[in-house]
């Protein structure tokens, strides 16, 4: 039996192909193989002999089978190795293209701003861009022929012959949304209203269309000090710095009283803005306490309610935060610009993950 064992293990070790291995298997442990033949002999043996020879033969069969399996795998591996050697590819060739789009900075910054104000309990209000003269001016305490109207460089819509209503305007600011929101919801109210606004001005720093975000908070006891805090919190969150310093400066807007221009402490280094430090002050927005006449026009009783409003330029915020130099390029759709200043689809501003990468 030892001869048998040695003979087949040697044969298996020496087999060069799966076919040869199969032949060995048939000869050794096949139905008519040598081991099987010997097993048939067991019946002729005495029980004592059988008890010795049976396990021995079984063990031999197992050993040969294991050797066959091991050899088969080794042969397979060798064949695979041989095949893989021929399957070399130049992995420095370019990958298949995957498109990558971008989000415009105006959209991104709008989302950033709404994210911050949503956390402070402001919802998002909207209004039309072709606006009535009343919503855009009269209701905001800018009566017809008031010199303040001329300072808006208003675009007027065409009026058909015989239509004697005052012409509609392209809204010159997002402030008419204050009126619409208060008329719809009454007080108390906290809303912001982002969107396109239009003024007839085109030069290095002006485009006839740009974006603003309006803020409005009306309640029984909201003061200008609250306004300052809200704006400080906003600037801190938006510019993603630990400290900001704002300066309120008296100014005039017909729809707020008192009115203030708000400056942000900053420094400029190599064209880059640093917020919260330095000796420069940069004007970033206009604000004030909503004028009693505006509340009245919006159906809110000014003896009972008061609050603040502010307006910020979204494009300007984007320029400041992300170092974008030219406003006009925002609306030119130059692919190089869109790719360079745009944001990835998954750059979603959140309070938990931060506004920017």
């Amino acid at each position: 039996m030892d001869d048998l064992r040695q003979k087949y293990l040697e044969a298996i070790a020496g087999a060069g192909s799966e076919a040869a291995l199969e032949e060995i298997r048939v000869a050794a442990v096949g139905k008519k193989g040598e081991v099987a033949l010997q097993m048939r002999e067991l019946g002729k043996m005495t029980p004592e002999e059988r008890q010795v020879m049976g396990p021995k033969l079984n063990a031999l069969k197992d050993e040969i089978n294991s050797a066959l399996a091991a050899k088969k795998e080794a042969l397979g591996d060798a064949a695979l190795d041989e095949r893989l050697k021929t399957e070399w590819l130049d992995v420095t060739l370019p990958a298949r293209p995957r498109p990558a789009g971008t989000i415009h900075p105006v959209s991104q910054v709008t989302e950033e701003v709404t994210t911050i104000f949503a956390d402070m309990g402001f919802s998002v209000a909207e209004g039309p861009q072709i606006e009535t003269d009343w919503h855009n001016f009269d209701a905001l305490n800018i009566p017809p022929h008031h010199p303040a109207r001329q300072e808006f460089d208003t675009f007027y819509m065409h009026r058909a012959e015989g239509d004697n209503r005052p012409p509609h305007v392209l809204r010159t600011h997002t402030s008419p949304v204050q009126i619409r929101a208060m008329l719809a919801q009454g007080a108390p109210i906290r809303v912001i209203a982002p969107g396109r606004v239009y003024r007839s001005d085109y030069d290095q720093t002006h485009t006839p269309m740009f974006h603003q975000i309006e803020g409005l908070a009306i309640d029984r006891d909201i003061s200008m000090a609250n306004l300052k805090w809200v704006l400080e919190e906003f600037c801190r969150a938006f510019f993603e710095v630990d400290e900001v310093e704002l300066r309120f400066r008296a100014s005039h807007f017909p729809f707020t009283e008192p009115s203030a221009e708000v400056d942000l402490r900053c420094s400029w280094e190599d064209g880059r803005l640093k917020v919260g430090e330095g000796d420069d002050w940069m004007e970033i927005l206009g604000s004030g306490m909503v004028h009693p006449k505006v509340l009245e026009a919006s159906g809110v009783d000014p003896t009972e309610w008061q609050g603040f409003a502010f307006g910020i330029g979204i494009d300007r915020l984007a320029m400041l935060k992300y170092g974008i130099p030219d406003l006009r390029a925002f609306f030119d759709s130059d692919l190089r610009w869109l790719r360079h200043y745009g944001f990835s689809a998954l750059d979603m501003p959140t309070m938990r993950g931060g506004l920017s990468r």
Partner: protein, 803 residues
Amino acid sequence: MKFTLSWLKDHLDTTASVDEIAETLTDLGLEVEGIENPLATLKGFTLGKVKHAEQHPDADRLRVCIVETDEGDKQIVCGAPNAREGITVVIAKPGDYVPGIDLTLSVGKIRGVESHGMMASERELELSDEHTGIIELPSGEVGESFADWMAKNRPEKVDPVIEIAITPNRPDALGVRGIARDLAARGLGTLKPMKTAKVEGKFPCPITVTIDDDTREHGCEVFMGRLIRGVKNGPSPAWLQQRLRAIGLRPISALVDVTNFFTYDMNRPLHVFDADKVRGNLRVHRTTGGETLIGLDEKEYSFPAGSVVISDAEEIESIAGIMGGLRTGCTEETENVFLEAAVWDTIQIAKTGRATKINSDARYRNERGIDPAFNAPAIELATQMIIEFCGGEPSDVVTAGEVPDVSRAYKLDTDRVQSLVGMDIPAEEQRRTLEALGFRLEGDMAHVPSWRPDVMGEADLVEEVARIASLTKLVGKPMSRAHVGVPKAVLTPIQKRENIARRTMAALGYNEAVTYSFIDKDSAELFGGGADATMLENPISSEMSHMRPDLLPGLLQAAARNQARGFMDLALFEVGPAFDGGEPEESHLQVAGLLVGGSAPRDPWGSRRPVDVYDAKADAEAVLSAIGAPAKQMILRGTSAWWHPGRSGQISLGPKNILATFGEVHPKVLDRMGVKGPAVAFTLWPERVPFPKSSGATRPALAASDLQPVERDFAFVVDAGVEALTLVNAAQGADKTLIANVSVFDEFHGPKAEAQMGAGKKSLAITVRLQPRDKTLTDAEIEAVGQKIIEKVAKATGGALRG
């Protein structure tokens, strides 16, 4: 509004520096836009004395001087003819910047002789154009600062000029006195008493004035005037000329300069005209329309009906409150002058100003509002000044109309500053502030001064108090949340939808563009717009004349611009409003995507192919799916004219609810917009996708079968015009429970197909996935479903199984 420091000091007794004044003005709401301070440029130059001057050895025109300076004697080579021993001069030393020659000095050698600095001329220090010689001072000590010397001895030459922006509510600050009053209220000095004058008339005014009845209301409140006879007009005094020049006005003659002085000093526009050129009496009236006048600026103006003008017996002689006429203008020869001070209706001035497009100092002030109570005093003060400059004898003052009564009072609630602004200002200080601004307090009623038309209520009093106290001192105070706890989501469903659509588009590889809401008429018309209702009355250019009816024209224009820069493959999108009409409610939200050129860059894998209609369809479907549109959609034909008629479709939920249109852009439209194709696009209307009725977040349970699905392929021969979706829907309908999915995997059409299957035929191959629910399917069952599919397809399309 420009003024000089010395002018301010006419009204304000102050020792504050220019910088202090400028900072305070900005803080008060009178925002400083610029300061020109000659003293700042003179800082650093000191006085010296020429001890010795001798001829340069090698140059006829140069002298070598020894000059005594605060740093000892210096040798300076000088070419000025007046450089001589004994004179006091202004020294610029090596290292000093000399503004007039834009040069920082260094020690130099002039024709072989060392020179340690220079002695400056007025032009070199930008004091004047004088350059015939160096400055020679009549006094001053060696080492004294030249700036100090100038401030002491020639203040008018180094008078700092401050320019401020005036918001429309503050006409009073369009006069230097109003600015001084604000500064005094802040405590930056004391307001000097107002000058008054009373010049008795020596004779009755030979020119009378009337105001037409229809012009009294909303036209002219009051008109006062007087004749001054026997004047001698000529240049005004040097101090006045200097001031006017400093603020950018050209001195004209004493008479005219007086009116300009009052315009800027007191926000009091006045008018003078040559009485000898006035024929008959003056009449203030409205125009009937079409009249003309040549103004002082020598331009001809014509008037719409209803403008207010002043005429003599024959014709219009001036545009009320805006500009005088050329014919009656004062000249050097004027001997008898008529002086006018009037109060006009501000709205009337604004209307006529806009109609004539005249932007004069008078219009600017009269439309913002002047102090009506100052009308009579102004006549007297101006008369006094005219007589002082030009001599002459005044008549009585003639008056038409009445000085309007603008007196009013509001309650000062001193707690309101705390509740509205959040600043703690003692009541006494609040009262003091208002009084300093000219309010008269009677108990808690504050009477508004006549020069403050903007103060119209209690909130204005609060504003004045807070403004003078300085908003800089305002300290932020936390605003509590309206609701306790975790803030709720605030976006509306459509706002969320807009964000999702935008980010899906970016994820699909599109670059977001933001294009103008207005486009040119031709482009608007190509896309179904361009109607007059969507037209701007005053567009900035013909390229931006109409509100866009669709986002695609803007994107196509952007594509053309990019192609011109050499970028031929583009994927652009925009999310924004499109306009159906000219009313506020006539706009809607669109998402539009545009693909131009190849699907990918050229690469070894052949990824690049021309973009086609199925790319646009895929992206439109992806966005629809992302914003929650139902999966079951119809595809309709019959798209608008700007699409390729055979290669475009509409994704809809029924004939009346089109969610999106996709397709190839019509080649003619591409051509007109200058875009090189291929170009495919889609327009999608997010608001049309129905919002889910339930807002719950729970999903239905997953019904996944453990049984193996079976797939079977079928190829049908159909007429070439048969649409795949018809065939798919027919197959799907064969067994609604068993058939999980039907998809097209091959289309064989064209000449080769027709050669095999007959003219006008094509083959469509589908794969059908059967999902058994309760037991494994038998061959017979599968066969039966297959047969049913073939029957249904045959019925719907007339097609047969391909043999």
